[in-house]
Amino acid sequence: MRAPPVRDGLFAEDDSGNPYLIGGRCDECGRLQFPMASTCPACGAATVEEVRLSDRGTLWGWTAVTAPPPGYLGTVPFGFGVVELTDGLRVITRLEEPDPSRLRFGIPMRLTLVELEGEGTDSPVTTYSFAVDDA
């Protein structure tokens, strides 16, 4: 049993247990977004369709957070960066690699789900993260 998601509607798993991010595609302009919202952040249209975003991408930016940010439920240090999905969308995400010197621009990345311990609350949560794709 996995801990509950940090927020509903961010990610899901398919029948084979493969996780994916839940995005939105604007019916008017085609723009992708994450997380999915009821309106398009590019054109304002209110017709946004739910889509399964690619679980693969390449690393576009990375750092590590060394002091716990306000309200954070996990431990430090943790990786933090931007993955450019094969769909073309750039997503802000936690990264499984907390040592920036071990990462390189453009390396393949793959979505994973991780549990945060719930520091100070005793209620762990599940969130999305990207790991280096060694496959």
Partner: protein, 375 residues
């Protein structure tokens, strides 16, 4: 069109002031600005603040018995003071008022700034890590413009050296490149000493129709812009974005508006005060304000262009890296610096013959403000 003059300025120093309320700091700055302007009546007041709560500006003017006029509190993140100035200058130009008080006040919480901008889940997941967003922007600048970590440290040394001569700055202690690089890594590539401290303070300016303040510095542009959608690393701080090479950042939008409004080009500038929340943010501003060609910002650091004795001094006041950043007051603090430089009363940090100055702030929203002052 009516010209707008800075008839008077006032400051409460930036720093940490245990036991002093944000209202008291505002009173100090407003009193000083009104006295400097010859204590004119004013018909409106705009108060810039982010964290001071309900009716913060009313409390300051209430303490001085100077109420009855419209008092408007303005929040636009780091650019709040620029937004207040834009509204005040616009009202004078439109003929609505002939004298307007503009002030900014702040008493920031300590530590990493907690912002109601972020939803609770984003905090819980660790995605409200403000310095990490700064770091990603810094990394991109280093990758795309060839800026080095050494150069980021040199910017800190420059601003901290400048800050030694600013009595209203919080940190007045020289530093070295080695010392900056030896401070702990907050978020690679940013070390602790490359980040400004959130703090407390107040700044105020009295704006008047220029015929009522002959000889005073004039505000020739006060531009404010928000972001265009799409940039994942933009100050709008979204969770996703698209390839953005053709998306103009808000600081450039505001700068272009301001240059056009003022009828000046970057080559006309004698000094610039820009948003140095972190050292990379200053260097990025060189490109976004079009002080240099895209990709050329590192050169301005390397060849000393932006040093106090260089051809285009940037952050002669010491910048936020020396002064700290009281959000609502920081933009007006920059404008006070420009006015002091143009009036020849900047003391030990006085530049020779400064005539045209630019002040730039940018932050969450996104909001970017650019103000140009001449004499």
């Amino acid at each position: 069109m009516t010209d707008v003059a800075i008839a008077g300025t006032g400051m409460h120093p930036f720093g940490r002031f245990e036991g002093t309320t944000v209202t008291e700091m505002g009173v100090t700055a407003v009193r000083a600005a009104l006295a400097d302007a010859g204590d004119p009546d004013f018909q409106a007041a705009f108060c810039a603040t982010v964290y001071s709560g309900v009716a913060a500006g009313h409390k300051v003017l209430g303490a001085l018995g100077r109420t009855g006029m419209p008092i408007v509190n303005v929040e636009a993140g780091c650019a709040s003071g620029g937004a207040a100035l834009m509204l005040a200058a616009g009202a004078i130009r439109a003929g609505q008022y002939d004298t307007v008080l503009v002030f900014g006040i702040e008493k920031m919480p300590k530590g990493i700034i907690r912002s109601s901008f972020f939803e609770p889940w984003r905090e819980q997941a660790g995605l409200a890590a403000t310095p990490a967003y700064f770091a990603l922007r810094a990394q991109r600048l280093m990758r795309e413009s060839g800026v080095t970590k050494q150069q980021l440290a040199e910017v800190v040394v420059k601003n901290r050296t400048n800050g030694l001569d600013n009595p209203t700055a919080m940190i007045r202690k020289p530093t070295t490149v080695d010392e900056v690089l030896a401070s702990r890594v907050v978020c690679e590539p940013l070390h602790l000493h490359m980040l400004c401290s959130p703090n407390e303070g107040a700044a105020a300016v009295v704006l008047r129709r220029s015929d009522l303040a002959p000889g005073a510095p004039r505000i020739v542009a006060a531009a404010l812009r928000s972001h265009l959608p799409g940039s994942v690393l933009g100050e709008a701080t979204p969770l996703s974005g698209v390839p953005d090479d053709d998306i103009t950042p808000p600081s450039t939008l505001a700068a272009r508006d301001a240059y056009e409004e003022a009828g000046v080009t970057p080559t006309d500038l004698d000094l610039v005060e820009c948003q140095d929340t972190d050292a990379a943010r200053e260097v990025l501003a060189y490109e976004e304000l079009e002080l240099c060609a895209p990709g050329d910002a590192g050169r301005l650091v390397a060849d000393g262009t932006t040093q106090r004795d260089g051809p285009l001094p940037v952050n002669v006041s010491g910048g936020l890296l020396s002064k700290g950043e009281p959000l609502g007051a920081s933009a007006l603090g920059q404008v006070v610096e420009l006015a002091d430089q143009l009036r020849g009363r900047a003391g030990a940090r006085q530049l020779d013959g400064a005539r045209v100055g630019l002040a730039h702030t940018v932050g969450r929203g996104a909001n970017a403000a650019v103000v140009i002052v001449t004499r």
